[in-house]
C-alpha cells in the first residue's frame, strides 16, 4: 500500500510518500504507526506523539482504530490549519 506524509510528518520522515508492505498482524492505523516507528530514527521522531497524528484512508479521515485492509493510500499528517 502507498503511504503519504504531510507537513512536519513529511519533513521528519524525510519523504512525501512510499510503498510499504507491513507484516501480518498490522491491521489498524494504530498498528501501522507502531510498525512504522520501528523502521528508523526518522520514523520514531515523526510519530513520537502518535496522539497528535491524524490519518486518512483513501482520502477520508479515519480514527486510529480503523482497519487498513484493502486500503490503497494511507496518509499521515498533523492537525490541519487551513482556511
Amino acid at each position: 500500500m502507498r503511504v503519504v506524509y504531510f507537513a512536519w510528518v513529511r519533513e521528519r520522515v524525510g519523504k512525501s510518500d512510499e510503498m510499504v508492505e507491513p507484516p501480518a498482524g498490522v491491521s489498524t492505523v494504530s498498528d501501522l504507526i507502531d510498525w512504522l516507528r520501528t523502521r528508523g530514527e526518522e520514523y520514531a521522531y515523526a510519530f513520537e506523539r502518535p496522539q497528535v497524528i491524524r490519518a486518512a484512508i483513501d482520502h477520508a479521515h479515519v480514527r486510529a482504530d480503523a482497519v487498513i485492509a484493502g486500503a490503497r493510500e494511507i496518509a499521515f499528517f498533523p492537525p490541519m490549519t487551513g482556511g
Binding site: Q51, M80, G83
Partner: protein, 154 residues
C-alpha cells in the same frame, strides 16, 4: 444549486466569483462572501501545503452537507496553496440564499470546516525561520476524533 470548488495557486477575484454566482438570477436575496487573508503580525510569509485529491473530495462533501442543512442557491469555495505574503488572499467562501440567515450560517459552517478538517497545513516564516502553525482548536478536536470507538471510520 450552483457549486464551484477550486484549489489553485493563483489569486482569485471575489467580485468575478460573486457575479458568476448571481448573474441573471432573481431568486437570490442574500450573498455572504468571506475572504481569508494572510496577516502580518511578525510573519514574513506563509506557505500552504495541501493533500491533493483528498482536499477536493472533502470540500465537495462539506459543500453537499451545507446544501443539505440550509436552502442554498449557490456556493463557491476557492482555496489557494503556495507561498503568501501578508495581505495576500488565501481563501474565498461565497454562499447565496433567499434569506440572509441561511447564507451566514452556511458560510460560517464551511469556514469552520476548512479551518479544522480540510487537509491544509500552514508554515510560517519569521525572521527567516520556518515553523509549522499550531492548530490549538484542532488539537482539542483531535482528542475527540482519536477516542476509542471500535472501527469507527468517519
Amino acid at each position: 444549486m450552483t457549486a464551484t470548488i477550486r484549489l489553485q495557486r493563483e489569486d482569485f477575484d471575489a467580485a468575478v466569483e460573486q457575479a458568476a454566482l448571481t448573474r441573471g438570477r432573481t431568486d437570490i436575496g442574500a450573498v455572504v462572501a468571506f475572504t481569508g487573508i494572510c496577516r502580518g503580525e511578525g510573519i514574513d510569509a506563509l506557505t500552504l501545503e495541501y493533500y491533493a485529491g483528498m482536499a477536493e473530495t472533502e470540500i465537495v462533501r462539506h459543500v453537499a452537507e451545507a446544501e443539505r442543512r440550509w436552502p442554498l442557491k449557490g456556493v463557491t469555495v476557492i482555496h489557494r496553496f503556495g507561498r503568501f505574503v501578508p495581505g495576500d488572499n488565501i481563501v474565498l467562501v461565497i454562499t447565496a440564499a433567499a434569506h440572509r440567515g441561511d447564507a451566514f450560517a452556511a458560510a460560517e459552517f464551511l469556514m469552520d470546516y476548512l479551518k479544522t478538517r480540510a487537509p491544509f497545513w500552514k508554515q510560517e516564516e519569521r525572521a527567516g525561520r520556518a515553523s509549522w502553525v499550531d492548530a490549538r482548536d484542532a488539537d482539542d478536536a483531535a482528542a475527540e476524533r482519536w477516542s476509542a470507538r471500535p472501527h469507527a471510520a468517519e
